[in-house]
């Protein structure tokens, strides 16, 4: 891949998806694009990119963008967060909601392990939760929706007991039981897109997504998250992520890494 191609790739990713591709990632980019080139019938990554620059077909462009996203995820990544979610957040929010029903959004859910982990938390807490999980990658969403995980994936983050209770063997893999699959609704969504309806969530989980984004786009995404969050809702980021530099709308919950609530100034602004 030429440096020029890489620069254009960076630009594409930043403008359409808001993601940042570091300058040192040129070999990773080639590695990730190779299967896309094969699938789309190109002899090489260079041929794929040349075709894209000459004729920017949306589906090809998105196939390229999606392949560059970091899909890494596992069940209950940073376990304390999920424990806090199930034992503290959910019951507290449920108590002040009609019918005890809690609305949750897993924003940037990748292949579904985070969303299913949230569902397991709600099910174990006995809280009725409507969980929506979105990702930019259609391939990731398709996999998440299938509920099918390899033996490697199923063992990372889940105890054997949980695996037996909520999943069943499917040839060499494991699949979520219907009652777990039914607990999450998956859909493709670009976080750069502004909200188009008034749907608001009690808990938004957006972990290890913002830190991968272009700084210039991060503020925009945080604004969209703010608009999607109930005034008394909670935003959960990755344990090491911070948004204080991107917004005045949220304040960190003291002593709880990655947890944010709306700042008082944001509430009065909305009134």
């Amino acid at each position: 891949m030429t440096q020029d191609d890489f620069d254009r790739l960076q630009g594409l990713l930043a403008s359409r998806a808001g993601f940042r591709l570091g300058r040192d990632r040129i070999h990773l980019a080639e590695h990730r694009l190779a299967p896309v080139a094969r699938r789309e019938g190109f002899d090489s990554v260079d041929a794929l990119l040349q075709a894209l620059w000459v004729k920017p077909v949306a589906s090809l462009g998105w196939a390229v963008i999606e392949s560059m996203l970091n899909p890494e995820t596992w069940f209950r990544r940073d376990r304390p967060v999920f424990d806090t979610f199930a034992t503290e957040l959910l019951p507290a929010i449920s108590r002040v909601r009609p019918g005890g029903r809690v609305q949750i959004w897993s924003a940037g859910c990748s292949t579904g392990q985070e969303a299913y982990s949230l569902a397991l938390g709600a099910l174990s807490a006995g809280v009725t939760a409507d969980i929506v999980a979105t990702d930019l990658s259609q391939r990731a969403i398709d996999k998440a929706r299938s509920g099918l995980f390899s033996a490697f994936e199923i063992q990372r983050g889940l105890s054997a007991r949980t695996m037996l209770d909520w999943f069943q063997p499917a040839e060499d893999a494991w699949v979520a039981q219907p009652r777990l699959k039914d607990a999450v609704r998956f859909a493709r969504h670009n976080l750069l897109d502004a909200p188009t309806d008034g749907t608001r969530f009690d808990v938004i989980v957006c972990r290890n997504v913002l830190s991968e984004m272009e700084p210039a786009q991060r503020g925009r995404v945080v604004d969209h998250l703010e608009r999607r969050l109930m005034d008394d809702g909670v935003l959960i980021l990755g344990s090491e992520e911070r948004i204080e530099g991107d917004t005045m709308a949220f304040r960190a919950v003291r002593g709880r890494k990655g947890l944010y609530v709306k700042a008082p100034s944001a509430l009065s602004r909305a009134a």
């Binding site: 490697f152 889940l158 054997a160």
Partner: protein, 123 residues
């Protein structure tokens, strides 16, 4: 800082070697046993913090070892993780019912082992 010990019980020398590398990397002091009988003898002298336990072994298999271990004074202390190619749910349930703390299906890697050890509170 307290040293944590792990006993790897497997009749395959290669598996023991691979597992040792991973577990030592997680900060454990590691010992090995090639079957359940050897493992019981070891535990009689020193109860490890963690046991990684194969199921099918000559002389004494993992299930028999586990039951005998739990009968020993102090035998309820070690965290026991089966680590085996057996993947049928009934076998997994049987292992958990017999007193195993968790269950690793082979093949495994460092991330899975770390996750499972964290699951049982060993790391």
């Amino acid at each position: 800082m307290e040293v944590r010990t792990c006993l790897i019980v497997d009749d395959s020398r290669i598996i023991r070697k691979v597992a040792r590398r991973i577990v030592e990397g997680l900060g454990f002091e590691v010992d090995e046993a090639a079957d359940g009988a050897e493992a019981l003898t070891y535990c009689a002298g020193l109860m490890p913090d963690v046991v990684l336990l194969d199921w099918n072994m000559p002389v004494m298999d993992g299930m028999v070892f586990l039951k005998r271990l739990r009968e020993q004074p102090g035998g309820d202390q070690p965290k026991v993780l089966f680590c085996t190619i057996e993947t049928a749910p009934e076998r997994i349930a049987e292992a958990l019912g017999a007193g195993a703390d968790d269950y690793v299906m082979k093949p495994f890697d460092g991330e899975i082992l770390q996750s499972k050890l964290s699951e049982v509170g060993a790391v």
